[in-house]
Every structure is written in structure tokens, then in C-alpha cells.
Symmetry: C2
Subunit: 463 residues, 2 copies
């Protein structure tokens, strides 16, 4: 079954079955959106002759061209016949957008079984049903019916996202865009009657444009196989997983949402995926945060953190988060060397005390901060620097962003920043855009450092 | 010692000792900022005759007016004499902005002892040293040297914030502004040589304009007294505390930052403050989040949560967070009544399953969402509704914000929203501005619901 998924991500020709001339209908939204993507798109609808200027066909069989990708936007009861037509025509991939399958009771489960039957032993593959499909910035493919008019799309970049929920995928894309992070592809699995996360993990494992795989799953299509495959892939490429359905209520909700059975106890899942080297995110925000860190930095080689701040309070908050990581004992506050302390003592105002966290006080200047970072990057006892990048202090300017970018992109001790500025969102984008992994709170920065350090430990263990 | 603090918050006349004509100096920034605030401000500096058009005085003794508030922006070594001059003149309050006191070694501790001595037995009170002072939107007083040009200030509103860190105070103000929440006052304690959190809690307890007290503390001035006072006040007015210095490294950092000793074990602190009815925030973001919830809703009477979403994935994520609260068992997913399920079955598309979380699917419309909220508010088995307010689905419009606002402000079951929209920040502000307590992620919404429910339980227990 694990064939080449390439035409799914970059189809030469597309048919929209259930394309509609009525604004607001899914079949209209998706057709317009795909047509705008610059590839050949054929509308299929027996009740129309033309849609948005394109000749409309009564059936996919009538389309005078081979079809790489068909999108079915019909009520579930009508979808099965369309899928059969597509199979007969030799369509390579079908995105079944329709709901009302396995997630919707006995009748729906029966319909979903018919979909599976329709492609049995044939070349045609199905994504879905109950899915928004996919978004691939590099090839301009976008089948998501929550269109760019209603939701921000990120640029092309290093993270592949695979989601069992369309809304979580949309949220991921928006948060990625807002953090300045790019994605290689976003695939919504839906009910996963054919293509599943395992096949996509295999695909993205071999995709040179993907440096990190982010997953949202409410259940595993095959838990044991997931642990095996993810464990192999994770040695080469980081995987981050948001696995919900953790609780009884969450599990029941997941079953109703995507018809999936989340049977394993969460403790079992937790142990197995950690063993496999997969990082686990607590929510959709953390999924983006950790993916950002992985795709930019890969991993960090040790857990000795030096915190540097001009805001003493943030130094204290950060130190607490670093040292609170007692359960897995990944992080500790670095012990600065004597020469580092001496150099810091020369650089810093008389009343500041050179220890870790390094409190530069509100009297700091851009130049002092630069020299302090240089000093800390030279200390072999520091594995990673957590920089509080506050632009509010009177003596600093936006030049501090360039300093952080220059220091962070050297082949020296990695720097993660927590940004605090008047125009928080814009400044954060500017900082991440300049190549620095950055977050708006210390909690989120420390969590990402923890994931990087855990990955470093995993890689040492597994070689 | 617990006199009337009113002139500190609304001084009739202000002197800035160490006012400077040199742009960029603290004495210049603060003088310009205070002068712009519309009250009488006298610059004091023996080396100048005029600053920004105001006649400058060599000493505070020379100022031809009574002074309610003096701000000292001089090196620590010069500050003590100035404070003595202020005491002799009968200045009511002095904000000692200077650093280099108790946080800066033996010499600094000696200087701080001299400050304490200077006001012993006199009427004059000191805020600080090592403090940015205070911001009071209602009276236009703003001594913070991180000025509005560099940092957003929130509007006047119901939350008083008291912080041992200037930077955390600034961060609180920015986050409050960005969440559309107003503050009654923001006070930076600094080294707390005289005025401390206890006196400020007493002050804000009696302040009609304050509905919630938010505290950032690295240590308690008197832990036992704090628990006693906070316990009394919390019966009437909610208190939220971010207490850092939790860990060894955090505690050491706190000592260096504000000269404070964080001696108690965190477990002791945790138990005592919970007993006292004080909510505990995990970081500066949660401090703002919980304050927002408390000031708008006070408390919630039970922990049975109904989650409603058009994005099934968010329903699953929310259900997991609600049910993960196993440690203190405050929250559970509400069991919907038969009549509620029946009514929902009528309102919702055929393939949606009426259970909790209520999954309205991407086919939802504004009108359906409105009727669903109405139905849920009528179910006596639901204590609080967590609404996923997603504006990306094709069938909803910004009208949904008005619907949420109307439903949330009725005297019926409280509604907390999680907002998801293309223009996330702007939409979130619009939603909170319309009177709905709202957050950008389910994790944060559920955490605030938990705090509201815990407060409800505390109030029932303590009556």
C-alpha cells in the first residue's frame, strides 16, 4: 500500500466533485481556491454546465484528462458512487471531504466500509473521509475549505504537520505563520480509511524539505506500528506529537469526532512514545513551539542552562522553571566558570551580581548585552543560553535583535530567546524571522529547551 | 504604620530628586513623564536651574510647596541624604527608585538600614528602594521609567497589581492591555524597606475600584502575616499570587534581585496560601489570565463543564484538560440532561452527536450556535460553558462575537471562550472588550475555569 504519495502533494490535474456555483458552499469555496492555485482544475456536477468560467462535467468519467487528485465535496451518501467513478477512471488520489462516515453512527460506518471496498486492490488512494485535505505551500496546493481569506497560511518551510483534526491543523498553520515558521506540508487525516499517519511519517522521513514532523492524533491507526516506525524515523528526524483522547471524556469525544478508538491507557502511550524518541506536546501551542525549536536547532547537547536577563524578575521566573524540571532531571542552572564570572563582573554595573541567572539590570545597553552573550558562549559549562530579550529598558534598542540574531546563528552555544516588547507580536516575528528561536514567555522557552535537551539525550543513547 | 496611602496614589504635588536635563537618564525620563501627567511636578537638582521649562531647585527643602510624593532617582549613596531632606520637609511618600541597596551586598544593606532609620518615628513613608514606583490610570500618576513610549499601558479597570519585580509589572501591564483588561493601580514594591505587600493588600481590600488583587512575590515580607491577612481579604475579594523563588536556584536569584529571603519550602507556601483562599498562578501570563477571570466573574458555583465547539479537535483537547484535573478534582465534563440532548439533536446537523463536548462541526451557523448556547444555559446540570469561538468556519461570521457577548452577560450559566480567528490578537481584544472572558488556547481557558471553580468552593467552605 505504501506507494509514492508525490501526486497527492503536487497533482498535475485536479477534479472537484460536487463543485458548486453557489457562494458559501464547500464545493464552491474549494473549487475557487484550487482554481486560484494555478493548476488545471475540473469542476464536476451534473446540474451545472459552467462554474466560475470553467466548463463543468456531469461525471468525473467525462473529464477529458487524466486526474491526479479528485476532491469529493458531496453528502456522504452520494460520495461512494463518486469514489467508484474515480477508481474506474484511474484517479490517483481522492480527498473525501464529506462528513457522515465512521464518526456518524452505524450508517456512516457502513458507508465508510464501502469506500474501503471501492479502492480494494486498485491503485487509487483515499485521504479521509471527513477531512479538509491538504495544504502544500511549495506546490501551491490548498484544498482546505477554511481558506486564506479566513485563516493565515504560513510560508514554505521545514515542518510537516499531519493532523487528525482540521481545526487543529488550521490552528497550527495560524500559529506557525504568527511565529514566522514555515511548513513543508499540512495533511488532515480525517477518518483515515486508507492513508494514515504511518504512511505520511514514512513519506516525510524521506522528504528533504522536511526537518521536523508534527503530529496531532486522537488515536493511533496502529499503536505498535507507530512506536516502531516513529522510533526508526526519530533517529534521523525529530517527531513531535500532540496525542489527545488522554482521558475518558477526551477518548469518547475523539471517537465521536473522527470515529477513532483511543483504547490504550495514556501512561502506556506516554512510556512507549518517549522510548521511541518522540517528543510529546501538551497542546496545539506547544506542538508549534517544539516544532519550531526542532526545525531550527535539531537538539541541544546538554541541559546546563544559563539564563540572562535585564529584568531580574524574569531571571527568577526562568530559574524556577529550569529547576522545576525535577521529574526527568533534564535541565539545571549552569555553574559559571571563574573566568566567566570575572569577565561579567567587569562588564556589568557595580550593583549587578555575576551569577546565574545573570541579572544585567534595567541599566543594560546593547553593547553590554552583546559582550555578555559572547562571554557566556565561551563558557564550556554552559550548554544553552536562555536570553530574556526585553526591549523596554531605556538603554537598549532594536539593535539588540540583530545582536541576538548574530550570536544565535554562530556555530557556538545555542541561544533561545524570550521576547518582551511593546509590539509583542510584531517584535516576536521580527526576532524569529532573524533566525532566533523565540517565544513570548519563559515557560514556553524553557519547555522548548527541555524538548531539545531530551532529544540530545535520546540521540546519544540511540547511537 | 498602616496609614492612609491615598496621597501615594493621587499626590497633589510631586518632586523628582535627581531630575535631569539629559535625555535617556532615568531622572529625565521620569520627570518628563510625570510632568506630562498634568500635576505640579518640581525638579530637584543642585546642578541645574531649569529642566524642560520648569524651574529647578537645589534641594527639596527649597521647593515652595508641600510635597505629597517625592521620587528619588540618584545613585544609592546619594539617596539617603535626599530621603532625610524629604523627611525634614514633611514629604508624605518617597519612591526610592535607586538600585544598589539590600540587593547589592554589604554596603547596600547598610545604606538600606539608613533609609529605614531616616523615617523611623516620622510620618514619611518609603516605597522601594530599587523600584520603578507606580502607575495609577485613574489619577494619571505614572512613575515607571519604562514609559508608555516603550510599553503599553492598560486602561483603568478592576485589577490591582502589586509586584516585587518592575519587569514583571511591566509585562503584566502589557498583557493586561493586550487582553483588554484594565487595572486600578500597579505598584512595584522593590526591596520593600517600608511599604510592603501586606499594607497594599489592606489598601486594595478597601478600594471600591479594585475587584481583584494580583501579586508577584519572590518572598513574603512576613509569611505568617500574609497568610492571615490574605485569608481575611480573600473572603471578600479574590487574590491571585505568582510566587517565585520556588526552587533553590530561583530562591538564590530572588535574593540577589530584590535582597529578599525566600526561606520557606514551596510545599509549605503552597498549602498555606491555598488554605487562605489565594489562587496561585504558574507564571506571569497565568497571573493576568486568572485576574481577568476573577475580576469579570468572581467565581463559579460548580465544576461541571460543558464544552461546545465547531472544531471537533478543540472539543477533544478541552475535554482532556477538563478531565486531567484529577489532583484536586475540581472539574468534570457535565452530563447533559435528556431534554438538552433532545433539543441539541433538533438543532444540529444529522451527523453531529449531541454529547459533551458538543461538536457543532464546521457546518455550524451563527444562529445554530446561539440556540445551542441558549439550550446549554438552560441545563441545570451545567455549571460553566467553555465555548470554542472559531471564526474560520465558512458558516459563521463576526456576529458570533455579539452572540457570545449577549449570552455571556446574561444572568445565566457563565461562558468562557477560547478564541480562534485569522486576526487572533485583534479578535481576542474584540471578544474581551464585549464582556466575554476569553483566551487564545483551551489550556488557558480551562486553567481559568479551574481557578473560578476553586474560588467558588473556597467561598462555600468559608461561610
Amino acid at each position: 500500500m505504501s506507494g509514492d504519495l508525490e501526486p497527492l502533494f503536487n497533482p498535475g490535474s485536479v477534479a472537484v466533485i460536487g463543485a458548486s456555483a453557489t457562494p458559501g458552499k464547500i464545493g464552491n469555496i474549494v473549487f475557487a481556491s484550487l482554481k486560484g492555485g494555478g493548476r488545471e482544475v475540473f469542476p464536476v456536477n451534473p446540474n451545472e454546465t459552467e462554474i466560475l468560467g470553467s466548463r463543468c462535467y456531469a461525471s468525473v468519467a467525462d473529464v477529458p484528462s487524466e486526474i491526479d487528485l479528485a476532491l469529493v465535496a458531496l453528502p456522504s451518501s452520494l460520495s461512494v458512487d463518486s469514489v467508484r467513478d474515480c477508481v474506474d477512471k484511474g484517479v490517483k488520489f481522492i480527498v473525501v471531504a464529506s462528513s457522515g462516515f465512521g464518526e456518524g453512527g452505524e450508517d456512516g460506518r457502513e458507508l465508510e466500509a464501502q469506500l474501503v471496498e471501492a479502492i480494494a486492490g486498485r491503485e487509487t488512494r483515499i485521504l479521509g473521509p471527513n477531512t479538509m485535505g491538504l495544504f502544500v505551500p511549495g506546490t501551491g496546493l490548498d484544498t482546505l475549505f477554511v481558506t486564506p481569506e479566513r485563516s493565515r497560511r504560513p510560508k514554505a518551510g521545514p515542518v510537516a504537520v499531519v493532523s487528525q483534526s482540521g481545526a487543529v491543523a488550521i490552528s497550527f498553520l495560524e500559529k506557525a505563520e504568527s511565529a514566522g515558521m514555515g511548513v513543508s506540508a499540512c495533511v488532515c487525516l480525517g477518518n483515515r480509511c486508507d492513508i494514515d499517519e504511518l504512511e505520511l511519517i514514512d513519506h516525510f522521513a524521506l522528504d528533504d524539505g522536511t526537518k521536523c514532523i508534527a503530529l496531532y492524533l486522537e488515536s493511533f491507526s496502529d499503536g505498535r506500528a507507530f512506536v516502531g516506525r516513529a522510533g526508526e524515523v526519530a533517529r534521523e528526524k525529530p517527531i513531535v506529537l500532540l496525542k489527545t483522547g488522554r482521558t475518558t471524556a477526551g477518548g469518547r469525544a475523539a471517537r465521536l469526532h473522527t470515529g477513532s478508538l483511543a483504547v490504550s491507557s495514556d501512561a502506556v502511550v506516554e512510556g512507549a512514545i518517549r522510548q521511541a524518541g518522540v517528543a510529546r506536546a501538551a497542546d496545539e501551542e506547544e506542538l508549534v513551539d517544539i516544532s519550531t525549536a526542532f526545525s531550527a536547532l535539531g537538539h541541544v547537547d546538554g541541559g546546563r542552562v544559563c539564563v540572562v536577563a535585564s529584568a531580574g524578575g524574569f531571571g527568577v521566573i526562568a530559574a524556577d522553571f529550569v529547576e522545576s524540571d525535577t521529574e526527568r532531571d533534564l535541565l539545571s542552572m549552569a555553574e559559571l566558570s571563574d573566568s566567566t564570572r570575572e569577565r561579567l563582573g567587569e562588564l556589568m554595573p557595580a550593583f549587578a551580581t555575576p551569577s546565574n541567572p545573570v541579572d544585567l539590570t534595567a541599566g543594560v545597553t546593547d553593547d553590554t548585552y552583546d559582550q555578555v552573550l559572547d562571554t557566556l558562549q565561551g563558557d564550556p559549562g554552559v550548554d544553552v543560553i536562555l536570553m530574556s530579550l526585553e526591549l523596554q529598558a531605556p538603554g537598549v534598542s532594536t539593535e539588540l535583535i540583530d545582536i541576538a540574531a548574530r550570536r544565535a546563528t554562530l556555530d557556538r552555544t545555542p541561544i533561545i530567546a524570550t521576547v518582551s516588547a511593546k509590539d509583542q507580536s510584531a517584535t516576536l516575528r521580527q526576532v524569529t524571522g532573524s533566525g532566533v528561536v523565540a517565544y513570548p514567555t519563559m515557560r514556553r522557552s524553557v519547555r522548548s529547551i527541555e524538548a531539545l535537551v531530551e532529544r540530545g539525550r535520546y540521540l546519544r543513547r540511540s547511537t
